[in-house]
């Protein structure tokens, strides 16, 4: 690689002089993964440092809400590819720079180890954990240094990862975003009734954060209960707020499943208004009624109130409570809006129960009236106005039932859409810090690599706090190839479960290959021959102990992702029983120990016996599936690093890991929301 080492006379003038010296280097290549903020590409080109920049941006197109900080974009660019527009903008200011842009997903197989090997450094500005892990592995495999970053509101950080020298991005577990994958509201999937119109109910997939949106979960839960399905989402919340613990179980779930299937089907002669009200009554009235019949649940909790449309709506002779004409004017399905139809203009308003109920009915009607084709295939999208209205209304009505405060559409959208709040200023600061680290990396100035944290409130007078990187975690399964342990019922769990829930979800592999000794149990690929593909498909449906090469207690599986060039060994331990609530997957992955963090500089070694990490080197396995949805969280998160006494490591990734202090900046109502976003 065309990169020299620079020796400069004064250590203190190193940074500036070095960048001047690098002018002569012929091909310094930088790979930029950028989604959220593109501040730093400006800084880059200004320095005229980089002769070749490969800019890789994901599949996103530009939205209006990006414009408040992604300043390479203008209003006129909305809808266009971010990659392309960014490249054009950069070239306008620095016409002689070499930029290639890719409007693609960073996980695309084209971006393999060979691709990565072209670069001197990789800079990430991604917005999800999954992609970050993927890039981390590729950087390890290709031995290219990685500068990672993240921002949320006023907080941010920049970290440097160099194989063998520092921790990799996954050495310290990152909390995965809370998701409630089973919050679907759906009728029986794909059942055809001959000759009848088959009205499917709504299918929503929601990424939800605590408290408020748990209401929506329960909305879904109750519906599902009545259909005989068991909720499989992870624990939503602790016991602290009893009124919100809504693991409602109907005592006769099984028998009501048949009945429930019919509920969501529109009867032949039913008008849309009737149908909508019937659904309302069923979901908000009947379901609650059924839940209330299970006395056990309500011993220590406030009983919810069933809500029926006849009670909520005043006597109205006319069935039309909205002006559908307002929505006729446009053919664009995405601009259809219940709010517009009902004349409710301000998304910041908190609607009354009546208004919410009206929105609910109106939204239902509009879906069936204007977007009929999509029904059955709808999924939640925060930019789908009608979907947001529907979810807000539904959640609010449920909240009203349980006596929980209602929220505005604006707030609900933020929560349900998992919107990351973002401002230009923090991004600018982080961008500057990224560039500074990138320059150090290019100079191979390893002693000066820093992890820098941008705080909202100063700690020991510091708003920007640099910390020396730690050495790699010897028990990191990604960079140190430590084997993991999986407890599973080998007679009950199928290979499919293992692949979906462990290999893909927990281990973050996209294209896994699974071997048991020399036996290839499963792999993904375009070029598989028919027999092999059939073989694998069959294997997926078998329980582990009945695979061609039986997987039982005491055996070891090797899992690999060829693109990430990442291998992981998993020891299998058979266990009969699993707690339905705590371990809903029926599998437990562990073996991840929080190694004592050792600084690169030996003089500042964190004491192994010190107060920092509670489990130090004793092999205390940490449960991968914690109650609070945080995966791989070691029991001792606190560490002391030299003079930096701020205890928690503000690993922000893509989750709003807010300190209490962050709340200061918001209006009264918003205060509660962000409190709820705080990770347990």
């Amino acid at each position: 690689m065309p990169q020299g080492v620079f020796v400069t006379p004064h250590p203190e003038v190193r940074l500036k002089n070095a960048f001047e010296n690098l002018d002569g280097v012929c091909a310094t290549n930088v790979l930029l993964h950028t989604v959220l903020s593109l501040s730093f590409c400006f800084v880059f080109m200004i320095i005229n440092l980089f002769v070749g920049i490969h800019m890789q941006i994901d599949m996103d197109t530009i939205e209006v809400s990006n414009l408040n900080r992604q300043f390479l974009f203008r209003q006129s660019h909305v809808g266009q590819s971010k990659a392309k527009v960014a490249r054009d903008a950069v070239l306008r200011f620095r016409p002689h720079i070499s930029i290639t842009s890719y409007h693609a997903n960073v996980k695309d197989p084209d971006f393999n180890v060979d691709f990565f090997k072209q670069f001197n450094v990789v800079l990430n500005g991604l917005d999800n954990l999954d992609a970050r892990r993927h890039v981390n592995r590729l950087c390890l495999a290709s031995d290219v240094p990685l500068v990672e970053s993240g921002t949320t509101g006023f907080l941010g950080q920049v970290t440097v990862h160099v194989k063998g020298k520092t921790e990799c991005y996954e050495c310290q577990p990152k909390p995965t975003p809370k998701t409630y994958p089973v919050c679907t509201i759906t009728s029986t999937p794909s059942k055809k009734v001959h000759g009848n119109l088959h009205f499917h109910f709504f299918q929503l997939l929601l990424n939800i954060s605590p408290k408020f949106m748990m209401i929506v979960c329960t909305f879904a839960v109750c519906t599902l209960h009545c259909m005989g399905k068991r909720p499989t989402f992870a624990k939503l919340f602790g016991d602290k707020n009893q009124e919100n613990d809504l693991n409602v179980r109907s005592s006769d779930a099984a028998s009501s499943s048949q009945q429930a299937e019919d509920v969501f089907e529109c009867q032949n002669d039913e008008g849309i208004d009737e149908y909508a009200k019937r659904i309302y009554d069923h979901v908000f009235g009947y379901n609650i009624g059924v839940a209330l019949s299970n006395e056990e649940t309500w011993k220590n909790r406030n009983r919810p109130k069933p809500l029926y449309s006849r009670d909520v709506f005043p006597e109205e002779p006319s069935q039309q409570n909205g002006n559908m004409d307002k929505n006729c004017a446009t053919d664009d399905p995405l601009s259809v809006s219940a709010m517009a139809s009902l004349g409710l203009k301000n998304p910041q308003d908190i609607w009354s129960l009546l208004e919410n109920s009206r929105i609910f009915l109106e939204a239902l009607k509009l879906f069936f009236g204007k977007r009929e084709k999509e029904i059955g295939n709808l999924s939640f999208d925060k930019d789908d106005q009608l979907a947001v209205e529907f979810v807000t209304a539904a959640a609010n009505i449920r909240a009203a039932s349980f006596g929980i405060p209602l929220h505005s559409l604006f707030e609900a959208k933020g929560i349900a859409g998992n919107i990351v709040h973002a401002v230009a200023t923090t991004n600018a600061v982080i961008a500057g810090l990224i560039v500074i680290e990138a320059i150090k990396v290019l100079q191979r100035d390893a002693n000066n690599y820093r992890m820098t944290y941008c705080l909202e409130h100063p700690s020991r007078k510091m708003l920007l706090m640099p910390v020396e990187p730690f050495e790699p975690n010897k028990s990191c399964y990604v960079c140190s190839e430590t084997p993991l342990l999986l407890e599973v019922n080998t007679h009950r769990s199928k290979l499919r479960d293992f692949v979906e829930k462990i290999v893909k979800a927990k281990l973050g592999m996209n294209c896994p290959l699974i071997m048991h000794g020399p036996a290839l149990l499963y792999e993904v690929g375009d070029d598989l021959d028919k027999d092999m593909a059939a073989n694998y498909a069959a294997n997926l449906e078998k329980v582990l102990s009945e695979l061609p090469s039986p997987v039982t207690g005491g055996t070891m599986l090797t899992v690999e992702d060829l693109q990430q060039e990442f291998t992981c060994n998993i020891n299998i331990k058979h266990r009969e029983e699993f707690d339905e609530e705590k371990e809903p997957d029926g599998m437990l992955l562990s073996g991840w120990t929080q190694a004592p963090r050792v600084e690169k500089d030996d003089n500042k070694t964190v004491g192994n016996g010190g107060s920092s990490t509670s489990n130090a080197s004793s092999a205390m396995p940490v449960e991968a599936e914690e109650d609070d949805d945080i995966e791989f969280v070691p029991t001792g998160k606190k560490r002391k690093v030299g003079e930096i006494s701020k205890a928690t490591n503000p690993n922000l990734s893509d989750v709003a890991d807010d300190d209490d202090d962050v709340l200061v900046m918001l209006d009264g109502e918003n205060l509660d929301i962000n409190k709820k976003k705080k990770l347990q």
Binding site: A422, V429, G432
Partner: protein, 323 residues
Amino acid sequence: MDGEELTEQETALYDRQIRVWGVDAQRRLSKAHILVSGMKGTVVEFCKNIVLAGVGSLTLVDSREVTEEALSANFLIPPDENVYSGKTLAELCCDSLKDFNPMVRVSVEKGDISSFGGDFYDRFDVVVISSCSFATKKLINEKCRKVSKRIAFYTVDCRDSCGEIYVDLQNYTYSKKKLDETDECQLQYPSFEEAVTIPWRALPKKVTKLYLAMRVIERFEEAEGRNPGEISIADLPGVLKLKKELCEAQSFNESHVPDALLERLVSDTSEFPPVCAILGGILGQEVIKAISGKGDPLKNFFFFDAIDGKGIIEDISNPNPGS
């Protein structure tokens, strides 16, 4: 935007930041008038930030022409000589900034900032100056303090790969929400003159050396009648001599102001772009806090040095402020 409610357009554009600081703060931003002088890299970054944030208006002052150095750190100047020749820095930046957010009124004020009368400042809520001499900083700070409506005053300077921000909010009261209660906080800021004349011995122990070094350089340029930044390695002996004099006059230990740091500051006066971004970002946040009246403002100096990577707040004020 003079109406009370945010327009639909504003709500859509500012959605992500409203989620950070709330609708009320956004409204106040849209009514705020900012004056900025000295369009170098750091200030340009700051301007970009507040224009994106959606302030009411931004007035630029800088009648200098484009130079090589300006081009390298100022990304608002189109690199085309046909475009930039004949125009002042303020004019060029104005054109570019308007483009970032058409909802903000960006304009140019011609002339030298130090010549504007006191009533000129009446219409501004925030004043940010950069590339100014010691005397000019004092002068403008005083003028701002005389205005009856409180003006938030800031200076920002970046030399080589480090920089300084100074904040003066005079008597500042703001509300802070902690859990369920709201605290009323009050801070008293010293004027620029008051702050920098505090004897060095009275400063917080371990005060960042950058503060001291900046003051020495400032005094030197003042004494020699130089424009800010008009200094070179050839001046080092003079600077070191001045440092010695200043320290002796205050009975202050010379070693607290490292020679190496001074050498660095005189050798390279051009701004390092990543540091501009960092300072411009921090300053942007501060101004937004001051306008919205929310959040702990910085008191009263901020320093960043890329060499050690620390962003430090120093409180340089008298412990018992007199009236």
